[in-house]
C-alpha cells in the first residue's frame, strides 16, 4: 500500500533522502508485482483473461482519477464515467481521422478531455460538496443523452465520424508495437504505471498537501492563503487528463465502441467500487479496478453469474463501507490480516506470552502427558 498521506511522507526533498526500510520493502514488492503482471502473466492467461486484465489496467486509471478526487480533495464526482466516455470518443475520432502516433493520440485525448472536463465542472467547483455530486450526476445523464444521439465514431466522415449505414465497421487501430492482445495488455499496464506515477508525483509535491488541506477544511485552506478554486480545478484537470488517456486506451482495447456499453448506472458503480476499494490509498484504485472489471468476468466465467448480482454487491458494499469502514478494502484488509495473524499466533502459542499462568498451564499439561 502506498500511503502518501502518512505521517512519514517526506517533504519535497524526499527523493534525496535515504528511504527507510518500509518504503524500500514496499517499492520492491510493487516492482516485483508489476514485473509479474508485465512478463509472467500474459503467457499464463487465456485470451479471455488477457482482455479482462487489459480492462483492469485501463479502469485502474479511471478509479485512480476518481480516487484522487474523492479521497484527496473530497470532491465526490458521479460524472467520471462521462469523462471516460469523452476521452474514448476523442481518442476514437483521432485514431480514425488521423495517422498520428498512438502515444500522441493518448496525450491529445487526455488534454482535450482535461479541457472539457474542467470547463464543465468549473461552475460546480464553486459549489460545496453535495451540489458538486448532484451536478456531476446530472452531467452523467446529459452525456448519456448526447452519446445516444451522437454515437461513437466508427470510421465515418464529418465531425461525429459516425456512419449509421456501415455494414462492416472498421476496427479502431492499435499501435504497431502492440497489435496483439497480450502486447496491448502490456502497453495498457505501462500506460497505467505512467499515470500512477504522474498522480504520485503530484501527491508528494505541493498540490498533494494543498488538496489534503482543502479536504480537511476549505475555510481553513482559504484562510491559509490558498486559492482553493485553482487547486480544486487542478485536481479536476489532473483526474480528467488521466481519465481521458484511459478513454483513448479503452478505444484501442475494445476496437469497437458502442454508446449502449456506457449506461448511466455505471457512473454510480464506479463511485461505489472506488469507495469500496479505498479512496485514500493509491492501491485502492487497483483494488477498485479489480472489483469493477475482474470480479464480474471471473464470476461469469466460473458460474455464469449475471452482472446484476455484482451491481447488488456493489450497492451493499458502498453502504457497508460508508457505515463501518470509510478506508475501504485497501485500508481494512491489512488491518484485518494483522488481526487474523495476531489471532492465529495467539491460538498457536496458547495464551499470550507473559500472561499469568501460561507457563504453569503448559507445565501442567506436560506433566499429565
Amino acid at each position: 500500500m502506498i500511503d502518501t498521506a502518512g505521517p512519514k511522507a517526506p517533504a519535497t526533498t524526499g527523493l534525496l533522502q535515504r528511504p527507510d526500510r518500509r518504503t524500500l520493502v514496499r517499492a520492491t514488492v510493487i516492482t516485483v508485482l508489476l514485473l509479474l503482471a508485465l512478463f509472467a502473466l500474459p503467457p499464463l492467461m487465456t485470451g479471455y483473461y488477457v482482455d479482462t486484465m487489459t480492462q483492469v489496467a485501463i479502469y485502474s486509471i479511471v478509479t485512480l482519477g476518481l480516487g484522487l478526487l474523492v479521497g484527496r480533495v473530497g470532491l465526490y464526482s458521479l460524472g467520471q464515467l462521462a469523462v471516460l466516455v469523452i476521452g474514448a470518443w476523442v481518442g476514437a475520432r483521432l485514431l480514425f481521422g488521423t495517422g498520428q502516433p498512438y502515444i500522441l493520440v493518448l496525450i491529445e485525448a487526455g488534454l482535450v478531455t482535461m479541457i472539457i472536463g474542467s470547463l464543465i465542472t468549473l461552475p460546480a467547483l464553486r459549489l460545496r460538496g453535495l451540489y458538486l455530486a448532484l451536478i456531476t450526476l446530472m452531467l452523467a445523464g446529459a452525456v448519456t443523452v448526447v452519446l445516444a444521439t451522437l454515437n461513437f465514431p466508427n470510421g465515418g466522415s464529418g465531425f461525429s465520424g459516425y456512419n449509421g449505414s456501415f455494414l462492416h465497421i472498421p476496427q479502431i487501430r492499435r499501435p504497431s508495437f502492440a497489435g496483439t492482445d497480450p502486447a496491448y495488455y502490456r502497453f495498457s499496464v505501462v500506460v497505467a504505471i505512467v499515470m500512477f506515477l504522474l498522480v504520485f508525483v503530484h501527491l508528494r509535491a505541493r498540490p498533494g498537501r494543498v488538496w489534503a488541506t482543502i479536504r480537511q477544511s476549505e475555510p481553513a485552506a482559504l484562510a491559509a492563503g490558498i486559492n482553493t478554486t485553482v487547486y480544486k480545478l487542478w485536481a479536476m484537470a489532473l483526474a480528467s487528463f488521466v481519465t481521458g488517456v484511459a478513454g483513448a486506451l479503452l478505444a484501442g482495447a475494445d476496437r469497437e465502441l458502442f454508446s449502449i456499453d456506457f449506461p448511466i448506472q455505471n457512473s454510480i458503480e464506479l463511485l461505489a467500487v472506488v469507495l469500496m476499494g479505498g479512496a485514500f490509498a493509491l492501491s485502492g484504485a487497483v483494488v477498485a479496478a479489480f472489483l469493477l472489471a475482474f470480479l464480474p468476468a471471473l464470476l461469469y466465467q466460473l458460474w455464469s453469474v449475471p452482472n446484476d448480482w455484482l451491481i447488488i454487491l456493489f450497492g451493499v458494499g458502498v453502504m457497508q463501507v460508508l457505515a463501518t469502514a470509510p478506508g475501504g478494502i485497501a485500508d481494512q484488509f491489512p488491518k484485518d490480516m494483522k488481526r487474523l495473524y495476531r489471532y492465529l499466533r495467539g491460538r498457536l502459542r496458547g495464551p499470550a506470552p507473559g500472561a499469568p499462568g501460561a507457563h504453569a498451564a503448559q507445565a501442567k499439561e506436560g506433566e499429565t502427558a
Binding site: 460546480a124 448506472q265 447488488i312
Partner: protein
Amino acid sequence: MPSWSDFQPFIVSGLALGGIYALSGVGLVVLYRATGVLNLAFGAVGAMGAFIAWSIIQAGAPGWVGWIACILFAGVVTLGYGLLFGPALAGRGPLVQAVSTLGLALVLFGAIDLLWSTSAGQSRSISFPTDNGGFMVGQVQVNWTQVIALAAGVVITAGTHAFLRYSKLGTAMRAMANDREITATLGVPVRRVEASAWFGCGLLSGIAGILLADLAALDDTTLVFTVVISSLAAALIARLRSIWVTFAAALVIGLVHDLITPISSLTSYQDMTPFVLAAIALLVMSRGQVMTRSREEG
C-alpha cells in the same frame, strides 16, 4: 418551425410530468430538511414498487391492489433504510449520506434487472382506467391520468405546506431542519420524527413511481434515473429549501422537456433539460456566495 397547434398537446403532458416531478421534489426536500439526507434512491424505490405492482396486476389481482402494494412497498423500504442507516451515518455530513443512498439505488436497480429481466424482449406497461376517459381543452385531448398527476403535484405540495405549518409533527420537522440538537433538547422524539419523514418520502416515491410507469414507461433506467435527475434539478433550483419553488421549477422542467418534442432538431436532446436548467440556476445562484459561512448547509 412547428406551429402553435403542434405544441398544445405537449403543454398538457408536460404539466402532468411536472406534477410528478413536483411531488418527488417535495418529498426530497422535506426529507432533506428533516433528516439531512438527500434520498438519491427515490427513483429506484418507486421503480421497484411499480414493477411489483405490474407483477401483482399480471397475476390477476385488481389494479388498486397493485397500486397500494407499490406505494406501501416504497414506504416500507425507504423507512427500513432510514431506520438502519439513518442513525449509523448521522453526523457524517450530507455528502456521505447521499452517496450511501446511491448504494440502495444500486441494490434495487440490480434486483429489478434480475427479477424483471429485459432480455426476453417483452414490453411491460401499467395502465390506469383513467387513461381512456377525459375531456377536450380547445383541440387538445386531456385524459384523467394527466389531471391526476398534476393534481397530485398541487395537492401534495399544498398539503405538505399545511402539514409543516400547522401540524405538530410538521412543526417538529421544521424545528429539526433548523437545529437538530436544540430540537432534541426540547423533548421532541427526534428518531420518531425522522422515521415518519422517511416513511412519507417513501410513500411519495411510490406514488411517483406508479404514476410515471403509466405516463412515461415501465422501464428501469427511466424510472430510476429520470425521476431522480428531474426532481433533483427542481429541488436544487429551490436550493433544497422551499417546496413552492421546487413545485414551480418542477413544472417548468416538465413543460420545457415536453415542449421540445415537436422541435425535431432538439428532440433527441430533450432529456438534458433538467441538467441544463439546474446548471444555469446553480451558476446564477452561486454568484456572490460567501465561502466561510454556513458549512453545514451545503
